[in-house]
Subunit: 163 residues, 2 copies
DNA sequence: ACATTACGTCAGCCTTGTTGACATTCCAAG
DNA sequence: CTTGGAATGTCAACAAGGCTGACGTAATGT
């Protein structure tokens, strides 16, 4: 990996080095999801519910279409997840004021409580990984991840910050 | 993010920064799987088949138990995938010489051909992301990923290199 | 001889993705 | 103002790929 280390060098990467990167992503993703998975197991929810809750918490009042685009699933698939969350009183769906076709999504108090548990667990896990790797590594990590994101998705993601 | 940038500083990370990291992983993983997924769609295979093929290519002659541990699924789940691959002539299962209970797995010529297509597509994608991010970022990326891996899995993964 | 290990298989379940069909609402063209 | 099309969201049915449990068979180890 010495070629990768030296700052000014060209990026000379063997297939073997690339393969190692690929496998590292695969294995790391398992760790990434394990903390929330453990909280959810036993409850009637899975990863799909976690994802929905996460992004509703992040941008309260988001409509279904927006959430659909972010999650990258079909509306039917999301709807099933959303329905159980609404039935269980974790998510509230309000009919849009301007456009009554739209449903705007909010976490209830109970939903926010679960979201808090999930995201705190995942943050703690992430913090631990960051600490092990060190500050410089974290910067590089974020840069590569940004480069890995689909450009259109990055647009959408940036749009989230404004609302 | 200035705290993260400065090399010697403590790792001071706000919840917001951690959340961004979490979301980046989520979004990046989508891109990561999309190239192989596109090749596989239309064929009768999915991600599960890709994973099996990948690791059989990486360590030919691996027995089923070992593959099971690496993939982290049940034997029933793996078996379904493996059965179709064997039936279709992409994977060969040879009875172990030393221990005849074991089955050792190999790619056939056809299997290797598919593996080549899949991994080349994924490597190309990975290479592009690395290039965008630059050499220093790649080093950091790898360090964080290693830190994200489950310790036991890392042991297993290291063991792969020897055989 | 007997328990254990490695592997395969059948059956059945759950989550989470898919498509297809449909109701409601909005908007713009006639 | 009406009406047809587009957008939004819901219901139904199906497929992939996880899971558990139970069982069979062959080979190995004690």
């Amino acid at each position: 990996m010495s070629e990768v280390h030296t700052g000014e060098s060209l990026l000379f990467l063997t297939d073997e080095q690339l393969r190692q990167g690929i496998e590292a992503v695969f294995f790391a993703y398992r760790g990434f999801t394990s903390a929330p998975d453990q909280i959810l197991e036993g409850m009637a929810y899975g990863r799909a519910h976690h994802r929905a809750i996460h992004f509703i918490a992040r941008a309260p009042g988001m409509n279904v279409n927006r959430l659909l685009a972010i999650l990258g699933v079909t509306k039917q698939s999301l709807n099933r997840v959303l329905r159980t969350l609404i039935e269980d009183g974790l998510v509230e769906s309000r009919v849009g004021r301007a456009d009554k076709r739209e449903r705007h999504l909010y976490l209830t108090e109970e939903g926010a409580a679960l979201e808090g548990r999930l995201s705190e667990a995942q943050r703690a896990w992430m913090r631990a990984a960051y600490r092990k790797a060190g500050p410089d590594a974290v910067t590089g990590f974020r840069q590569v991840l940004e480069a890995m994101m689909d450009p259109e998705l990055r647009r959408l993601y940036a749009g989230l910050r404004e609302g």
